[in-house]
């Protein structure tokens, strides 16, 4: 490690919702993917987890939601807790019942179900039909476009609409924490902005906490309150979104801006990236 991670004192005013404590994840009993990852998601905040492809961001989310076992992965060390209660090693449907909803990357709608049925499936843990109907209406107020297409098969929606649908579907279980994996993937910049705007509104109006995994660091850091950077299965940098935006390394490697404030050519960034890493 060349640069010391910029650990900062976080304002103590907020409560920790979700705490990941030094977890190790192994795939197929041999491949060590996460090498001691710790992070906190504070209540009512958006916490973002940045990093390049293959850094272990999605694995971290899957470890939290318990989905990991379907990919022959398991947590071999460490702990995960929601509001102080340990949740690691539980089955995915139990984790969902405790209040964690996962939005997978790549807009994984139930293609052969209509939009409304997708939402109903999302509310599977809810027993009260009235609450489900309220939930659907609430999703429609945030995503009016889904309302227009409520009876259409989700497989035929546009990319942006599918992303809205999967976020809406995650809200249907009235979660405390939403794990949001790469919502910007493959979407037009304007749509990305719209969707992040809605997420920001949701967090403030619905008392949610969000753990956002992104490659679009620029966008993520404008909506997030706090950020982590991952590389090779480790957290290498942590700080408030503001600190991260002004961190010179982040600016160079993730935002593509040099000290003068002007955008760097891709070639320079690439050159730097090859030469310098936090971990090699």
């Amino acid at each position: 490690m060349q640069d010391a991670p910029a650990h900062d004192v976080v304002a103590p005013s907020t409560v920790t919702m979700l705490a990941v404590n030094n977890i190790e994840v192994v795939y197929d009993n041999v491949v060590l993917v996460l090498k001691g990852v710790s992070l906190d998601v504070k209540a009512g905040q958006i916490t973002t987890l940045l990093g390049a492809n293959g850094a272990g961001k999605s694995t971290t989310l899957k470890a939290i939601s318990g989905i990991l076992f379907t990919e022959r992965g398991s947590i071999t060390k460490g702990s995960i807790s929601l509001e102080g209660m340990p949740i690691h090693g539980r089955r995915p449907f139990e984790v969902t019942k405790l209040g964690i909803a996962q939005v997978f990357e790549g807009r994984r709608v139930f293609e052969s179900l209509s939009c409304e049925e997708n939402l109903i499936a999302g509310a599977h843990i809810e027993r009260d039909m009235g609450k489900i109907r309220d939930g659907i209406e609430r999703v429609f107020t945030y995503f009016p476009r889904i309302k227009e297409r409520r009876n259409q098969l989700a497989g035929y929606l546009s990319g942006g609409e599918q992303q809205m649908l999967v976020i809406g579907r995650a809200l249907m279980s009235s979660p405390k924490v939403v794990l949001l994996d790469e919502p910007s993937l493959g979407l037009a910049p304007m749509l990305v902005e719209e969707i992040f705007g809605i997420v920001k509104r949701l967090v403030s109006e619905q008392s949610l906490s969000v753990l956002l995994v992104e490659q679009n660091a620029n966008m993520a850091l404008t909506v997030a309150d706090h950020g982590y950077v991952m590389e090779n299965g480790r957290i290498v940098l942590e700080g408030s979104a503001e600190q991260m935006r002004s961190n010179s390394d982040i600016r160079e490697f993730y935002l593509g801006i040099n000290e003068g404030g002007s955008k760097k050519s891709y070639r320079d960034v690439k050159h730097y990236k090859r030469r310098k890493r936090w971990l090699s």
């Binding site: 019942k97 139930f110 499936a121």
Partner: protein, 297 residues
């Protein structure tokens, strides 16, 4: 000319009623495939097993009104056990593994009756008359009418279940994407077990009706062979497809037997459905109502 038409009409009517009963057996296959992606080659043997349970009960002088529910419950328990013991360990393995497991199971089930109770044919006498029901100048055996009603009720009931009930929606979600369904708080394994249990119920009803019509011995498992033309024509994952496929196969089989058997000397009943199946595979490999994977460009 009029006689000609009446002959055809009676063939079609009898074909439709038999076809509806094929649909009932095919339904068991479709339910499992829809929810779990497993192809059950032992559906015919399920039917046979249910027939044996019911007929065996009756032979042990258990009254019919008890024998039927016992057969249904026994088939549910059997399917649950099968799912838990044989199929769950195969979760996430290649489809071929499940296919092989069900083929093996089929062979075992067919081998069981001869070594346990011998090879005599048992009967399931239902309290219905022998007098055929006459209508529109044609007639239908009462057992066929009963089969028609039970099949239609089951198919209607399961269609409602899948389209309207929350459990049905959850089940379709599981069929669509298991990993995402898990993240929705759906206990995927439980839904697999429910799908198998439903296949067991359908097999029990099919076994009682078919067993009552044909008699119960290992030959009863052969109705399972008709399931493949039905589901491939209709679409592997569609209940409506099972109904339409069943009706078409039933009519094809009945009409082919009526017109071709006198010429070729019999046996067309058994291969005509497969001719239709091969034609269907050439022109509509997904079947008439099967799910195409939605590809967006």
């Amino acid at each position: 000319m009029k006689e000609e038409f009446e002959f055809l009409f009676s063939l079609v009517v009898s074909g439709l009623s038999i076809g509806m009963m094929y649909s009932l057996i095919a339904l068991g296959f479709v339910l499992v495939y829809k929810a779990t992606d497993a192809i059950n080659f032992a559906q015919g043997e399920f039917v046979m097993l249910a027939g044996f349970i019911c007929a065996g009960m009756l032979a042990a002088s258990v009254p019919l009104w008890m024998a039927i529910p016992i057969a249904i419950i026994a088939m549910v328990v059997f399917s649950f056990a099968l799912e838990r013991v044989v199929l769950r360990p195969l979760l996430g393995r290649p489809v071929v593994a499940v296919i092989m497991a069900t083929i093996g199971l089929a062979a075992i089930l067919r081998g069981l009756p001869p070594i346990t109770i011998g090879s005599q044919t048992l009967t399931i006498p239902l309290p219905i008359g022998d007098e055929p029901v006459k209508f529109l100048g044609t007639s239908l055996a009462q057992i066929q009418v009963l089969g028609l009603v039970v099949s239609a009720a089951c198919l209607g009931g399961f269609t409602w279940f899948f389209m309207k009930s929350r459990m049905g929606v959850a089940m379709r979600a599981v069929a669509d994407n298991q990993q995402v369904a898990m993240a929705m708080g759906i206990n995927v394994e439980r839904y697999f077990a429910i799908a198998w249990a439903m296949a067991g119920i359908v097999a029990a009803l099919g076994g009682i009706i078919w067993g009552s019509m044909l008699g119960v011995d290992t030959q009863l498992a052969l109705v399972g062979l008709k399931v493949f033309p039905v589901v491939i024509l209709g679409g592997l994952d569609s209940i409506i497809g099972a109904v339409v496929g069943g009706l078409i196969i039933g009519v094809v089989e009945s009409v082919a037997a009526g017109y071709l058997d006198p010429i070729v000397g019999g046996g067309t009943k058994d291969f005509a459905p497969y001719v239709v199946m091969i034609i269907a595979l050439m022109f509509r490999p997904y079947g008439l109502f099967g799910k195409h994977k939605i590809e967006r460009i």
